[in-house]
């Protein structure tokens, strides 16, 4: 295998995460070593309670690890403060959640524009990019619709548009199809695959659905807070 000269996109060494203290302490991650290169499409699998969501939250800087090291593009994430982690999310990461997590009573356009607003993008650029992103997920006619007016699949596509409008280096998807039926599941996974292949965005999908995992070229199986297997499809 020919390693690229630059540091890997994600590099974990002995990462642990413990919830609670004393007797009530629960170790969700018990020492994870994982390396992910830019451009990969990785499925993180495992039964519920295995720690796969915790792993993704830590990787996405939504949660902080208890111990171990986490390097993102060579940056020591565990040394960053809250503010710097926010900025890392702003400029490098995108998220798609099981529960969509769109702002209520807010149009698709405004939802997708929001990350650009925090980046300080000008009004015209925001509008142009948001429309382009919503068009690329197949919702050019739903610009003014609020989440309540959209189906689950449509909401998830708005969320995907919001995640990729900033062209992040990594897109984290936590059970993105958990609330969707099999047809829309296919649509959503197609979208993620296209982002990975066409735009070169690294995609990490947490799922317990084998069908979803087939879209990924690499599958990491987590069990009881440890990596049980790490398989790359040929």
């Amino acid at each position: 295998m020919n390693q690229p000269a630059a540091s890997p996109l994600i590099e974990l060494r002995g990462l642990t995460k413990t919830y609670g203290v004393g007797d009530a302490a629960f170790q969700a991650l018990k020492g994870i070593d994982l390396t992910i290169q830019a451009g990969e499409f990785v499925a993180i699998m495992g039964p519920s309670g295995s720690g796969k969501s915790t792993l993704m939250n830590v990787l996405g800087c939504l949660d902080t690890p208890t111990a171990g090291s986490y390097h993102y593009q060579g940056i020591a994430v565990e040394a960053l403060n809250t503010n710097e982690r926010s900025l890392l999310r702003r400029y490098a990461l995108g998220f798609v959640f099981q529960g969509f997590n769109l702002l209520a009573r807010t149009s698709s356009l405004d939802n997708v524009e929001l990350p650009l607003l925090y980046r300080g993008v000008s009004r015209q650029d925001r509008l142009a990019k948001a429309v382009a992103a919503l068009t690329s997920v197949g919702l050019p006619t739903k610009l003014r619709s609020t989440p309540a007016e959209l189906s689950g699949g449509q909401q998830q596509r708005v969320a995907i548009a919001r995640a990729n409008v900033t062209e992040p280096s990594t897109l984290f998807a936590d059970e993105p199809t958990g609330n969707l039926d099999s047809v829309t599941t296919g649509d959503v996974m197609e979208l993620l695959t296209r982002l990975n292949l066409d735009r070169g965005i690294t995609v990490l999908v947490v799922t317990h659905d084998d069908h979803v995992a087939t879209f990924a070229r690499r599958t990491v199986l987590i069990k009881d807070g440890l990596i049980e297997s790490d398989v790359v499809r040929p």
Binding site: L62, N83, R105
Partner: protein, 404 residues
């Protein structure tokens, strides 16, 4: 970054107009209530003070009967004589003047206008004692008093009812069964709390006695108005007048006084204290309403805290810093509080102006209470709008997102 936060905050307000409206409403009502109550309360205090100073300083009024209260009955108690007034002014040092007063209620007619008026028969010093000033014409004189001339000086209410806005001086009106020439019009004193002082007709005592009601007894004087000289101790004066009157009315040591002396300064002090108390009471009530408004705001903010915590989680996840999120919430809270506060000030201004007219008290814009009410409400709004947000923004983004 400030502009960004402002833009985001205004957008967020626009998306949640119901929540914004309820928040603003709480502040709006609280501010309007406290300003209106305090302003009107102070207006009433001012009105009472003005009224009292109109009554005349150092004014003592000698009246038959034991005084106020359950033993006020003056039936059967002898009234005073004109001589009583003369003797008081002559024998007691420190008295500026004393005027005997005979009152009656008689119909007054001018052309087709008729009404029942309070008639006061007295001597010329009465005008100085009671601080009446002339708007038109002249007061009656000692000559008028001696001759029993059919002349009178009228208050503004009587003038308005009988003459409208015409000049009444020189016109003859019918009082009871006699014609009487109006020779003077008094400057209005206004009314508040103590009845309409301008509803009065003042004429020479002799004219009232001879021409209108007849003199059937020496003891026909209802009261004696006495003014003390400046700087004279009212209490000592009252003691002296009391002992003089006991002697003149042949009261034995074991008998109670069958007259009383009414001191305007005491009344002034009492009324002043009472209205001040009322103002404080009103302010307290208004403060409670502001508090209730504040609790209303708090409820709205706390009810929406779950939704807003998730909103904060979403914003943090897509890359907002905690500072940006807090700034947004701060701007939202300040904007809503200020809008509510300013609207409350505007409403209070209208309410004060209107109500002051209706209840006839002066309306003075009180900057202090406006500022206090505004700042307090803004503080409440900001506190309850900002504090929950601060807690939420300190969470890990994932905990904020999962908030139930």
């Amino acid at each position: 970054m400030i502009w960004n936060a402002l833009a985001i905050a205004l957008r967020e307000i626009g998306r949640n107009l119901t929540r914004a409206f309820l928040t603003v409403l709480g502040i709006f009502i609280g501010v309007a209530a406290i300003i209106t109550m305090v302003t009107l309360g102070q207006g009433a205090t001012l009105a009472v003070k003005a009224q009292i100073s109109n009554l005349g300083n150092n004014l003592l009024t000698l009246r038959p009967g034991a005084g106020f209260g359950s033993r006020t009955a003056s039936a059967g108690v002898p009234h005073f004589t004109e001589k009583d007034a003369t003797i008081i002014s002559e024998q007691i040092a420190g008295i500026a003047a004393a005027a005997p007063v005979r009152t009656a209620s008689l119909s007054t007619i001018y052309l087709q206008n008729a009404r029942l008026s309070a008639i006061t028969g007295t001597t010329p010093v009465y005008f100085q004692i009671n601080k009446w000033n002339l708007a038109e014409g002249r007061f009656f004189s000692e000559v008028d008093l001696r001759s029993g001339a059919a002349v009178c000086v009228i208050g503004n209410t009587v003038r308005t009812e009988l003459f409208g806005s015409d000049n009444p001086v020189g016109v003859k009106i019918r009082i009871g069964k006699a014609a009487c020439e109006v020779i003077g019009l008094l400057v209005p004193k206004g009314q508040a709390g103590m009845g309409d002082q301008d509803d009065t007709i003042i004429m020479p005592l002799s004219a009232l006695q001879r021409r209108l009601i007849g003199k059937n007894s020496e003891h026909d004087i209802n009261q004696i108005s006495i003014s003390a000289q400046d700087g004279v101790d009212g209490t000592a004066l009252i003691t002296e007048i009391t002992s003089l009157m006991r002697q003149r009315r042949n009261l034995q040591p074991n008998q109670d006084n069958n007259f009383n002396i009414f001191d305007t300064r005491q009344i002034a002090e009492t009324l002043g204290a009472t209205t001040q108390l009322m103002t404080m009471l009103l302010a307290a009530v208004a403060g409670v309403s502001l508090l209730v408004g504040g609790i209303g705001i708090m409820n709205i903010m706390l009810v929406s805290v779950t939704e807003r915590t998730r909103e904060i989680g979403i914003r943090l996840a897509i890359g907002a810093t905690a500072r940006e999120v807090l700034l947004q919430f701060l701007v939202e809270a300040v904007t809503l509080s200020c809008v509510g506060g300013l609207a409350g000030i505007v409403l209070a201004f209208g309410l004060c102006a209107g109500l002051a007219k209706i209840i006839q008290v002066p309306f003075n814009f009180n900057l202090q209470i406006n500022v206090i009410a505004f700042l307090f409400s803004a503080a409440v709004g900001v506190l309850f709008g900002y504090t929950p947000a601060r807690r939420a923004a300190r969470l890990n983004p994932i905990d904020a997102l999962r908030h139930e």
